[in-house]
């Protein structure tokens, strides 16, 4: 019980500290912007540790963070192999294929109003098919290795990307399109010089959403059949072996990879859409 009370006290202290920093004079510095969420996250971890220890929660239900970190450090080769299988082979390739396919479709849809009106409602219906249902089917069709995982990812990212790219291509103002007309520009000329650049903020919005979807899709698909490597495989078998520390180590990898993936996309976004007001700060 003492540890639980300690956890609450630490929570209070950390909160007070964060309020001080956030409302203090240095609030807008880079340091503060990193420190505040870091303190918050650390507090969560410390509370988790203390509460798990304080309440004697069995390891097979919820391991303490310290155990997870130890397992993480001990299993680096396994985690790396799983990471390569799931993230690099499954998620990334599916992400690239899915986004490319969405891009091509978006152009088709853009060129033909008939296709837009026909395809978009059907597409949104298909997008509502839950992954836990489609994944087994795709594993059945595309086999056990990463190809089927990539297929699941393609299915997951395709529609959000399509919606965002199409919305982005509509993003130009009437005036901008008229302007192109006054210069007697062709479809592709105005596509490359006007509509595509103007669509970029939307495209990146889609890319960001899809980056987390891709990772989750690849992991979940492994639950329905996989070779004996991969993050989803490891998670599901480790649960069976009650190796919960391993499960959490994989979740940690997933969270790190997901955040990094998201971060990289956001960074590229900054570079590409430097001109957008939201990026100029």
């Amino acid at each position: 019980m003492g540890l639980v009370i300690a956890a609450l006290v630490i929570w209070g202290l950390a909160w007070w500290m964060n309020i001080r920093i956030a409302n203090g004079a240095q609030a807008d510095t880079k340091g503060a912007k990193l420190a505040v969420p870091a303190i918050f996250g650390l507090t969560l971890l410390v509370m988790w540790e203390l509460i798990v220890r304080g309440l004697d929660v069995p390891m097979v239900i919820l391991p303490a963070p310290s155990l997870i970190v130890v397992r993480f450090a001990d299993s680096l080769p396994i985690l790396w192999a799983d990471f390569v299988q799931t993230v690099v082979k499954g998620a990334l390739s599916g992400y690239v294929i899915g986004c490319a396919a969405a891009f091509v479709t978006a152009i088709l849809v853009d060129r033909s109003d008939f296709l837009r009106r026909g395809l978009m409602p059907v597409g949104s219906f298909v997008a509502a098919l839950p992954i836990v249902g489609t994944a087994p089917i795709l594993v059945m069709w595309y086999g056990f290795d990463w190809q089927s995982k990539a297929a699941v990812v393609v299915v997951m990212v395709f529609f959000p990307m399509l919606v965002n790219i199409t919305a982005g291509l509509q993003e130009t103002t009437q005036m901008q399109r008229d302007q192109m007309k006054t210069w007697a520009a062709g479809y592709w000329q105005s596509f490359w010089t006007l509509r595509l650049p103007a669509a970029m903020p939307f495209v990146f919005n889609g890319l960001k959403i899809s980056s987390t979807l891709a990772l989750i899709g690849a992991i979940v698909a492994e639950f329905f059949g996989s070779p004996i490597v991969g993050m989803g495989f490891r998670i599901s078998t480790s649960v069976g072996q009650l190796a919960l520390d391993m499960v959490w180590a994989e979740i940690l990898v997933a969270a790190l990879a997901g955040s990094a993936f998201y971060g990289v996309v956001a960074l590229i976004e900054r570079k590409v859409t430097f001109w957008h007001p939201s990026q100029r700060g």
């Binding site: 069995p58 390891m59 097979v60 239900i61 087994p136 594993v139 059945m140 086999g143 056990f144 492994e222 639950f223 329905f224 059949g225 996989s226 070779p227 004996i228 495989f233 599901s236 078998t237 649960v239 069976g240 072996q241 009650l242 190796a243």
Partner: protein
Amino acid sequence: ASHADSSVKLQLQWVTQAQFAGYYVALEKGYYEEEGLEVEILPGGPDIAPPQVLAGGGADAMLNWMPSALAAREKGLPVVNIAQPFKSSGLMLTCWKDTGIEGPQDFKGKTIGVWFFGNEYPFLSWMSQEGISTDGGEDGVTVLKQGFNVDPLIQRQADCISTMTYNEYGQVLDAGVSEDELVTFKYEDMGVATLEDGIYVLEENLEDPAFKEKMVKFVRASMKGWKYAEENPDEAAGIVLDYDETGAQTEAHQVRMMGEIAKLTAGSNGALDPADYQRTVDTLLAGGSDPVITAAPEGAYTLEITDEALD
């Protein structure tokens, strides 16, 4: 938790099917009620680790395969076998005959589907006894984590897959494959059979006499259910079907399953045979580089409950 009340929650390791007929029969026929018990049967699924549920207090007893239960014991979750309704193992590998596989040594260079989630232990120790690596390549087998149906074999994504005599094997036949196209290896025949479907509880709970008392009644009633199911397979299958809330099962399938299950429970009165236990432990200890358990477990089973129940 207090064990003074009369409620028992049983965690199954899979969805409602004839594999668990004995318990459903006992429930339906009122055998539990006769013992003064209120039994709730919790179906499982691929995402459920029964030992975890037990540890979390979500159930009083669980069904489990012994390798998995012993592994949990080593992980610091002391579970104890109190009864063993299944005498023999229904686990086997089913292979295409045209792959040229005739004996275990022919597995080299082939792709084999295995279930994991506890079911992989007997396979791994079998392979290590045969001296075959499981890391793929020319001289090893490539292991796949098989989903929970027989597609990998039908689609030829694997040369062999794991099947239970009472379930997946029938599904293979249902898919239009005839028996003479297949080669099967029963673990029982290969001498690597491990005990399946035993009843386990937490060791600390057994220290409570009231709980023990309850388990005695539970095991007694359950075995009564099992024996009834063995003798009346069609009726038992019907009862299971009634309890399946997903409405996904078909009658033909459950009837056939019940027939096969009856063969596995046939030799058991519910009491664990220490010789079977020893064979299981030996098989697991022979597990090679990736051992399921590292040392022979102590106190992993008790005969007290069955002794009392079967008097």
